[in-house]
């Protein structure tokens, strides 16, 4: 069905993603011939707040630090083959990212790039803050706001593409909208074509985490084996005019696309399967089906769409104080007992002022809770290679430094044989969400030529 459809490839699924993944995707889109687009999703919650902090320190920054490495290798091929690129790599500064993209084009001898800049998501200015005061829980106003962004949708991306953008750079948009935008522009869908939008949204949902649908984050040796995971290829969705789609991946890469990989990613970060909310549509996968058409080709059908929500989600990040972590290892006979004693020493030294979390890595760690209920309930065993981790958060950095000092002092004052102390302090961010009527936070775009 989809060989004459629109092919949308994924070049990245998060800010820390592999920078050599987009190359084989673009090569596949080019050899395939038909209409295509390439999307980059590089903006987790925390990423945007960090970008906002960077921008305050240097107004020329605040966009994706890896922009050159993500886009540089594929920019020439994309422009020459009319494959538009859409990315939220603008982060807290889409204008600076646009200028950098134009420079990348110049360096590659391309004609002046037309870059669509999508704005309106940033609510951290005075006007945005005033608006947020109406919708955020009271009491937050006094805290230091680091960033606030509304999740924008596909329409403004589609508008920028229709206006002739080679590249569209956004700040915060709903991740699936990165793919819905090119599909809207290509097929001329209206904002009320709910079924088409719902289907394209799930295509975007499957693409937005990069390799998570092509065998990344999937392998479980002996149960779910993945060929050449070290060279996992990134996904491509072939979207038909009615929005139905086939998921495949870049040619001559590792990984796999089958019913299992698609099902896992279809439900990833989904709550009610009948109501997956985005700014564009309420997508409904309660009746969805997947079918394997051939090697690395899976069709997704039965997705429906319902009218979009009247509100848009806003994420606001506030200063969250300090996080301190410190670790020390115990190994050999009676190691677990020595690690447990070390935890007890730290607990008694700190007293009531700071109540940290303790992990016994090698015994019980990531499955346990911050309050220590799971660890308290676990009967002591005889683990022979145990790493004690102590972690705490506090508004006062001095309290955190005290924690690190106590763990460090275990070298000479703690149980026998402790080694390998590592400590770190990091600033924390805390996030609060609220819903804002969409008409109060309009999206806008302009073309930088």
């Amino acid at each position: 069905m989809a060989t004459d459809g629109l092919a949308i490839g994924s070049g990245a699924g998060f800010s820390g993603d592999r920078t050599d993944a987009a190359g084989p995707v673009v090569a596949t889109l080019v050899s395939r011939g038909g209409p295509a687009a390439l999307i980059f999703e590089t903006l987790a919650e925390r990423t945007l707040a960090l970008a906002q902090i960077a921008r305050r320190q240097d107004p020329a920054t605040g966009y994706e630090p890896q922009l050159d490495r993500f886009v540089g290798p594929v920019l020439k091929a994309c422009v020459e083959h009319r494959i538009p690129i859409v990315g939220n790599f603008g982060a807290a500064n889409p204008r600076a990212a646009a200028a950098r993209l134009q420079a990348l084009g110049r360096e590659r001898g391309l004609p002046r790039l037309r870059v669509g800049i999508v704005e309106g998501d940033d609510l951290s200015d005075e006007r945005g803050r005033a608006l947020l005061r109406e919708y955020l829980p009271p009491g937050l106003a006094a805290r230091e706001l680091v960033s606030a962004n509304v999740y924008q949708g596909a329409k403004v991306i589609a508008d920028a593409l229709r206006a002739g953008a080679d590249v569209v750079v956004t700040g915060r948009v709903a991740d699936p909208s990165l793919a819905v935008g090119p599909a809207m522009a290509h097929y001329g869908w209206q904002e009320t074509d709910w079924n088409q939008l719902g289907r394209a949204t799930m295509a975007g949902h499957l693409l937005e985490c990069g390799a998570q649908v092509t065998g990344g984050y999937f392998a479980d040796p002996g149960f779910k084996d993945v060929p050449d995971l070290h060279a996992v290829g990134f996904p491509i969705a072939e979207i038909a005019r009615d929005g139905s789609f086939v998921v495949t991946k870049a040619e001559r890469t590792g990984g796999l696309v089958d019913a299992r990989t698609v099902k896992e990613q279809l439900l990833y970060e989904v709550h009610d399967p009948a109501a997956y909310l985005t700014p564009d549509v309420v997508a409904d996968i309660s009746q969805a089906e997947v079918s394997e058409l051939g090697r690395d080709r899976v069709a997704v059908s039965g997705v429906r769409g319902h009218p979009r929500p009247a509100t848009l989600k806003v994420n606001a990040c506030f200063d969250g104080g300090w996080l301190g972590e410190a670790e020390i290892s115990y190994a050999g006979p009676n190691a677990e007992a020595r690690a447990r004693l070390a935890a007890e020493v730290v607990r008694r030294r700190l007293g009531d002022a700071l109540r940290p979390r303790f992990d016994l890595i090698g015994v019980l760690s990531v499955f346990a809770d911050d309050a220590g209920r799971a660890l308290a309930a676990a009967s002591p065993g005889d683990a022979r290679d145990v790493r004690l981790r102590v972690a705490a958060a506090h508004a006062d950095r001095g309290q955190i430094e005290r924690l690190l000092a106590e763990v460090t002092a275990l070298y000479t004052c703690g149980p026998a044989g402790g080694g390998g102390v590592r400590t770190s302090v990091r600033s924390r961010l805390s996030t609060v969400s609220c819903l804002v009527p969409r008409e109060r936070v309009p999206a806008r775009f302009e073309i930088l030529e």
Partner: protein, 121 residues
Amino acid sequence: MLRVPLHRIAHGRTGDKGNRSNISVIAYRPELYPLLVEQVTEARVAELFRDRRPSAVRRYLLPKLAAMNFVIDDVLDGGVNDSLNLDTHGKALAFRLLDLEVTVPLALAALLERDRNPADS
């Protein structure tokens, strides 16, 4: 009857939004899906995660995918920005659920996933 970890008949993945975790549980074989529906219940999942004090556990059924989606509220100690856990997202939690014991009739034993990794058989 055979008692086996859920891992032998299903796979899954964790996702997180704020302080809410969702875990998919997907039958490797559709024939075993009714067994999942019968045995992997909201009550058992709530009990499994009781030390994290979930405020709600909801199960959504997707029979056409032979899958279930569990949505577990308030189990991430505040979520990615606030938790002190090394795994602030709770990404490992799917494998905690996949360790849940299920009972499989002997007649269906041939449908169990065989561990082809001898080190773990």
